[in-house]
């Protein structure tokens, strides 16, 4: 069992000297001036600059970072997606548009004839990745959406998403053998 106490916070009682503004202003100035001079120091490792020059020094995103979508590929370079529409069903922003088509390979049957994600409308919740039963859609591309001047540029089509994608080794469909 945890031990939970109630405690009263201490309010500051000021003396006359502290009431004269001067000590606290000096103390404050010492903090800010400390930062100022530390960050001017010629030794770069001593500086405590926290921000970064973004475009020149890109951030490393953690592995789990949800960025742009990508469509994974089969071993033969075909798209893994079979247009089951699970992702567009679960998508709270309704940003995935899929039109299924008949694939030439009867072993694949169904594939996305049209697969468009409106990346501007996407709220990056990652539910589509969880909903995908084929390991076809992922958001671990490690890049975020670039700025666009044209809204239509942010509609990512199937081929563009496949370019971002990579090979998925996930096994699919269980064991099957000809009878």
């Amino acid at each position: 069992m945890g031990n939970v106490n109630v405690k009263q916070v201490d309010r500051v009682k000021q003396g006359l000297w502290e009431k004269s503004y001067i000590p606290e202003i000096l103390r404050g100035l010492s903090v800010t001036a400390g930062h100022f001079f530390r960050n001017l120091s010629p030794n770069k490792s001593k500086r405590t600059i926290f921000t970064r020059d973004y475009p020149e020094e890109p951030t490393d995103y953690p592995d789990r970072y949800r960025g742009l979508h990508r469509l994974m590929l089969r071993e033969d370079g075909q798209v893994r997606c079979v247009a089951c529409m699970c992702c567009s069903t679960i998508c709270p922003a309704d940003c995935i548009h899929i039109e299924a088509g008949e694939h030439d390979d009867p072993g694949i049957e169904k594939y996305p004839d049209v697969f468009v994600i409106d990346e501007l409308r996407c709220i990056v919740c990652g539910l589509c990745v969880e909903a995908c039963p084929c390991d076809a859609i992922r958001m671990d591309s490690g890049v975020h959406i670039p700025p666009y001047t044209e809204r239509s540029d942010a509609f990512y089509g199937r081929d563009l998403l496949m370019e971002l994608g990579g090979l998925s080794q996930a096994k699919q469909g269980g064991d099957r053998s000809p009878s």
Partner: protein, 401 residues
């Protein structure tokens, strides 16, 4: 009412009170709230608060989404501490489903929730300093928040809109190097808290602005339904984590800081102290946590493992059913409440047994606090709105649900 105000001023010289529209787009009304102030000089003799400019439609929107799809919406309630909202909602639905989650899940929820609370309090105190003009203190606080968000990003995959909670579990376990990163963050957080304290806590300008302004009495706070740091600043020691423990809060030691006067300064101190308490709780969580599953094993609720989805028809079927029908929550209703950044965050959920909520009402602390804020503002000066409004910490997303 208005006539009463005019009369005494009218008697000697012909003057009349100035009506000032403060907000909804005003630098101090972060988010969107409107104050209609009746001013006598700079003194506020009447304040009418109006909320609802954010047009989120949370409660209506979720009626059209499955139980799982609600998570992104809850992220945007109190967008400074989205994890707390996620977990509060998870807990509510789990209570309705009557399922238990594994202990590790609860530990992680406690831990990540407190991390989120850190972000909330750092933002709140920082923003209060910023709007008083102490820009540097704000940016130091934001630096601390960035460190906290880095942790959140590493675990959840996003900084702000995390969507990390799941009904019956979590999206992911903690990452491997989490503990080391936390140790570094903790060290920096203490330094930052110290620096902010040096800049503000004893500074007379700051004290003059904060002490004795926005005074809330315990009676008033209770009758207006204030909770969280605002209520505790008046000396009432109500904390959901203490009084109705959930997750693992009954397994950890922590203090509940309370104030005495209920003014802005007390609220500031309470928040600064809660930062320390949250750090304590996180440390204990990491210490006491044991490896294990993070998700409930109820097949009605949890999506099957990916391996099974890909390769067995049984996994595929339950995956599909949960995706397109949603989790089937039995009919019933529940009110479940947790301690969020600003106070008691309650979800009142009614289910009609389908995959979509029939109704979700959120008892969001900010909206309720806006109901009584005029009492804190009236009688003060225009400039007093700023610290009062900041320490009450209204979050637009939560206010205009």
């Amino acid at each position: 009412m208005a006539e009463d105000i005019y009369e005494p001023i009218d008697q000697d010289v012909h003057t009349e009170p100035m009506i000032l529209q403060m907000g909804p787009s005003h630098p101090a009304t972060h988010g969107t709230v409107r104050f209609t102030l009746t001013l006598e000089g700079e003194k506020i003799i009447k304040c009418e608060t109006e909320v609802g400019y954010l047009h989120r439609g949370f409660e209506k929107e979720v009626e059209n989404s499955t139980w799982t799809q609600v998570f992104p919406y809850t992220d945007r309630l109190n967008y400074v501490s989205p994890l707390l909202n996620n977990f509060g909602y998870s807990l509510a639905v789990e209570r309705l489903l009557e399922i238990d989650v594994p202990p590790r899940c609860n530990w992680i929820r406690t831990l990540m929730g407190e991390i989120s609370r850190l972000s909330d309090h750092l933002t709140c105190t920082g923003a209060a300093a910023l709007e008083l003009g102490a820009m540097s203190a704000f940016l130091y606080a934001i630096e601390g928040r960035e460190l906290v968000w880095d942790l959140i990003e590493e675990v959840t995959g996003a900084r702000l809109t995390v969507s990390y909670g799941r009904i019956g579990g979590l999206k992911d376990d903690l990452t491997e190097g989490f503990e080391e990163r936390w140790k570094y963050t903790k060290k920096r957080l203490f330094e930052i808290r110290e620096e902010i304290g040096q800049l503000l806590t004893r500074n007379r300008i700051f004290l003059d602005r904060f002490q004795g302004t926005g005074v809330l009495t315990p009676d008033m706070a209770l009758s207006y339904g204030y909770t969280g740091p605002c209520l505790r600043s008046t000396g009432v020691d109500y904390d959901v984590r203490k009084d109705h423990p959930y997750f693992m809060y009954d397994e950890v030691d922590f203090d509940v800081p309370v104030g005495s006067k209920g003014d802005n300064y007390d609220r500031y101190l309470v928040r600064m102290d809660e930062i320390v308490q949250s750090i304590r709780i996180i440390d204990q969580c990491l210490e006491k946590m044991e490896p294990g599953p993070i998700n409930s094993d109820d097949p009605r609720v949890m999506l099957p493992e990916k391996e099974k989805v890909y390769n067995t028809i049984e996994g595929m079927i339950s995956h599909f059913k949960i995706i397109f029908e949603g989790i089937q929550v039995p009919p019933g209703e529940v009110y479940s409440y947790t301690e969020a950044g600003n106070g008691e965050l309650g979800y009142y959920i009614v289910s009609n047994g389908t995959g979509k909520p029939w109704k979700i009402h959120v008892r969001s602390p900010s909206l309720i606090m806006m109901g009584g804020i005029h009492k804190l503002i009236e009688g003060g000066l225009i400039a007093d709105i700023i610290p009062t409004f900041d320490t009450v910490n209204m979050i637009g997303g939560e206010c205009d649900k």
